[in-house]
Amino acid sequence: MWRFLGETMAVFAKDMRCEFRTRVAFNSLALFAVTTLAAVSYTIGPYGIAEADRPYLLGALLWIVVFFAAMAGLDRSFVKEEETHTAPLLRLAARPLVVWGGKLLFNTVTLALLMAILVPLYVVLMGLSVRTPGWFILVLAAGCLALAVTTTIVAAIVARAMSRGALFAVLSVPLLLPLLVFLIQGTRAAIEGRVPDVLAALRAVVSLGGVMTVASAFLFPVVWHD
């Protein structure tokens, strides 16, 4: 178990180190997020939406911004390994589950960093007031994990195919849409301060995320070795 964790951390640390030296994924994620945020804030602004619609529309917009940013950068972790031909080396040296764990950790941390910058900006720019901030953050965290799990396995599949950029979005969207529906419901409930509804949405997110995690941990070796 400890050996597994150590090896996973090795993959994660390697990815982080490579990423900090080039910043391809970070930059594209951040740029995409900031650009969409700027567009949304410019066209809608804090007073563009009627008071009654705010919780729902602002929650939906937030997740759309996050989703687009994720589409722009989260496939890098695997695609880069294939493009620079380092994947075969990793395949020979590491256990598949270790690679999956490392990449998942990397994607989670990337997404968490992005959201840590994006969400406060969004709250300020859109004049969003959240009734239950604790639940709001919990929904965001659960969403971050579930998004990272799904994009990691899709990125692994896409890296093994051709025309990867377009395929990543095509394959991710159907898997992510139900998740986004629950996340938007949860965010809205957290903004409005309806705790039981937040709990219901969180349960659905955890359930879907959990199923995804188990399925991708189980299926990843197939994707990785074929």
Partner: protein
Amino acid sequence: MTKRTVLCWCLVAAFLLAGGPAAVVRAQGGATRAAVPRDSGGPDLAPAIEVEAPAPDPAGNVAASSAVSDGGGSSGLMAVMGVTLIIWLGLFLYVFGLDRKVRRLEGP
């Protein structure tokens, strides 16, 4: 089936049971309350009739339908049925031809 496979299936089932149905029931209760005042533009588009499950009373059903078909005319229905039948015949013949061809290609 390895132990790992069994474990994975159990975990998937556990997650589905833990979150899925429970969330459905809750969200249903919550959503009708929250979403009806402002849903995604449904009622604006819908015509004046109320949408409801078909009436449970069969007698009333038949009565209503005969009233409707008096207005609509059964010749129209005949025409639609005829077109559907012709489409079905064409489709069947086409697929049957394919079936024959495949059997011939597969040989003995």
